[in-house]
């Protein structure tokens, strides 16, 4: 109740309203462009957030995430090319509906389901994030160190096909985090006499380089005309009988979106496909799936918009970003000196309540902006890539330069872009690098402070109950991920052996 009262106070704050509406608009445009993921759309905004107050900055970024999830469905439905990974499941039935001349209805279902997903996700976010604030004051340096370890343990699930590559990517992030001043003694490390490196490398430079710049470097080699939207659909919302039919699919999307959002590493793409699958399983019309089923759009779109909100639970509660987009949002917090985690509600409660209000405004605003922006999205999708990419390149360079008015920052960002390009080429995941980068300081400073406090007795991490609990959770997380991988490998082997035997 207290949370609702505090949040309501921000609902009429014009800074929050403006940031939410601009964020949704920007997100829808970015999401609609194939190849530009929600995280890249958010990363492009990061430099602008320096000039904003913390609440507006966070609302702007979080609303962009919401808008991008809907925006991704526009090209998915119109040209069978998902604008975002999470919209891939929408392609199946969305494009089929388009072929049947129902593109407007498909877009309407996507938008309306997205709003339902966002509102449900927000309710879950407000319910699940609050309780952590109660234990915030009990956090010691040992507990903070264990929290950092818990954050790093997420890498086990974020590493994709190869755990070793995920760990290497994380260490690269930890290494970048060691540049600058030593967190305990204040001495300089790895600065090579450069005064610009004394304060360390700001995560924003690395994030923009890794996500946005590297994507441009990859796209530089792509030539040829992209598919164009030739129709001019108008958004059409479902009538009551159809809306009633969509409710079970949307509930499935809400449920799966909540679970997948709260679990670090799962994300919107998995939630979308799982929801699609479950909606088909429980549908009264399963035969329509794949042939233009409205539920085939409602379930994944509800799920990925629910994830856009519930993915903030581990970020706000523990400071752990479970996806690329929440990692960028974490960058937004850090720019303003706010550290998400147990103390967030104590130290920056107004930012959290402003964020809730902004997310509510964004969810409602999405309904109207989504309708108004459709012609703009179609226009953008039809623009030749060279112009769009040239503009994005100029925007990145201008945005990074505007932070400190230093060309040195541009060099750092471009270097991160080159690193990201090679990581893409050699198939290393990005998210562990970002995690290492943002958690490096937390882990090192609290580890060393704890050891100073205990006179170098490592048992201090076991004696502290919160620290012990978090460390056990980390080991369970790592153990579970390794066991899951081992099970997957064994299952794959046994099925291959079975297939070989069957063939012979």
């Amino acid at each position: 109740m207290e949370t609702l009262t505090h949040t309501a106070a921000f609902l009429l704050d014009w800074h929050v309203i403006l940031a939410a509406l601009i964020g949704v608009t920007w997100g829808i445009m970015g999401g609609a462009l194939p190849g530009i993921s929600p995280s890249i759309t958010m990363a492009l905004l990061l430099p602008f957030t320096y000039t904003l107050d913390p609440t507006s900055a966070i609302v702007l970024l979080a609303s962009t995430y919401i808008g991008a999830e809907y925006g991704g469905s526009v090209p998915a439905i119109l040209i069978r090319t998902p604008g975002t990974n999470a919209a891939a499941a929408t392609v199946i039935d969305g494009y089929e509906m388009n072929r049947q001349g129902k593109a407007g209805l498909a877009l309407g279902i996507s938008l309306y389901s997205g709003v339902i997903g966002s509102l449900f996700g927000l309710a879950m976010l407000m319910t699940l994030s609050g309780p952590l604030a109660q234990v915030a004051l009990a956090f010691t340096p040992m507990a903070y160190f264990a929290l950092g370890v818990l954050g790093l343990s997420v890498i086990a699930t974020l590493s994709g096909e190869n755990l070793v590559k995920g760990l290497i990517a994380a260490i690269l992030g930890l290494i970048i985090a060691t540049i600058g001043s030593d967190p305990v003694t204040g001495g300089t490390r790895f600065t090579f006499g450069s005064p610009e490196l004394l304060g360390g490398i700001e995560p924003v430079m690395i994030m923009v380089g890794l996500f946005a710049m590297s994507e441009l470097l990859v796209q530089a080699g792509k030539r040829g005309q992209d598919e164009r939207v030739t129709s001019r659909p108008r958004i059409q919302f479902p009538d009551w009988p159809l809306a009633k039919r969509l409710i079970p699919a949307q509930l499935i999307g809400n449920g799966i979106g909540t679970v997948e959002g709260v679990m670090p590493g799962a994300g919107g793409t998995i939630a979308s496909f799982m929801s699609y699958n479950e909606a088909r399983r429980w549908s009264r019309y399963p035969e329509e799936f794949g042939k233009g089923s409205p539920e085939g759009i409602a379930a994944p779109e509800t799920a990925n918009n629910t994830v856009a909100e519930t993915a903030l639970v581990p970020l706000l509660s523990f400071g752990i970003p479970g996806s690329n987009s929440t990692a960028i949002l974490l960058g937004g917090f850090l720019i303003h000196g706010i550290v998400p985690g147990p103390m967030l509600f104590q130290k920056s409660g107004e930012v959290v309540y402003g964020l809730y209000a902004g997310l509510f405004t964004a969810a409602i605003g999405q309904l109207f902006i989504g309708m108004a922006m459709l012609p703009v999205c179609i226009w953008l999708v039809n623009r030749p890539r060279p112009y769009l990419n040239a503009f994005i390149f100029a925007l990145i360079l201008s945005g990074i330069y505007s932070i400190h008015s230093e060309a040195f920052d541009l060099g750092i960002m471009i270097a991160a872009g080159v690193l990201g390009f090679f990581m893409r080429m050699l198939r290393f995941p990005f998210l562990p690098t970002v995690l290492g980068l943002v958690l490096g300081y937390l882990v090192e400073s609290n580890l060393r402070r704890s050891l100073v406090l205990s006179g170098d007795d490592w048992m201090i991490f076991v004696d502290d109950r919160i620290s012990l609990g978090l460390l056990i959770l980390s080991f369970l997380f790592i153990g579970g991920s390794i066991a899951k991988r081992a099970y997957g490998v064994l299952r794959h082997r046994s099925s291959s052996t079975f297939a070989e035997n069957a063939e012979s």
């Binding site: 070793v164 080699g221 030539r223 390149f393 100029a394 330069y401 008015s405 080159v418 170098d456």
Partner: protein
């Protein structure tokens, strides 16, 4: 032999080794804590070298298994198909970005961002020269208005300083 895992592993070992050399050169003082400023960097360096070695081994083993399975030559070729071309195009865009860094403070923001838009669009394959020129001019003015007028950011004026831009 040169699979992505192998190249990634060797690169990790090289980065880890260089980082280790610098981390062992960090000065320690009597006032430092027991771990000191070089403690964790050394751990990170050794971990990177170790993990790089594991990845390199994985790359060699998987390649040998593929060869033993009769995929000689095809896997490696397929894995690197078109990567050289991608690398060249990326290097070109990178050169444009580096060029921008060198000219932005001399030419000024408005002029250099216009040149950046023009050169990048042409490099990425924009065909219509008149349109490219129009997009570069309008795009530069739009970005200048957004950063300098709306957001109040101090961008370098360079050659246009006398015009107050």
């Amino acid at each position: 032999m040169l699979t992505r895992d192998f190249v990634g592993g060797v690169a990790s070992i090289a980065i880890g080794a260089v980082y280790l050399i610098f981390s062992y050169q960090l000065r320690t003082s009597a006032l430092d804590d027991s771990m000191g400023p070089g403690g964790l960097p050394r751990v990170y360096g050794w971990l990177l070298v170790g993990l790089g070695a594991i990845l390199t081994t994985q790359g060699i083993v998987s390649r040998r298994l593929a060869v033993a399975g009769g995929e000689k030559g095809t896997g490696e070729k397929g894995e690197w198909d078109g990567q050289g071309r991608k690398l060249l195009f990326a290097a070109g865009l990178l050169a444009i970005g580096v060029g921008y860094i060198f000219v932005v403070e001399t030419l000024g923001y408005l002029l250099s961002v216009a040149v950046l838009l023009l050169v990048t669009a042409l490099y990425l394959g924009a065909g219509n020269k008149a349109r490219v020129l129009a997009v570069a001019t309008l795009g530069a003015v739009f970005l200048w208005v957004m950063f300098v007028i709306v957001l109040g950011v101090r961008m370098p004026s360079g050659l246009l300083a006398s015009l107050g831009l």
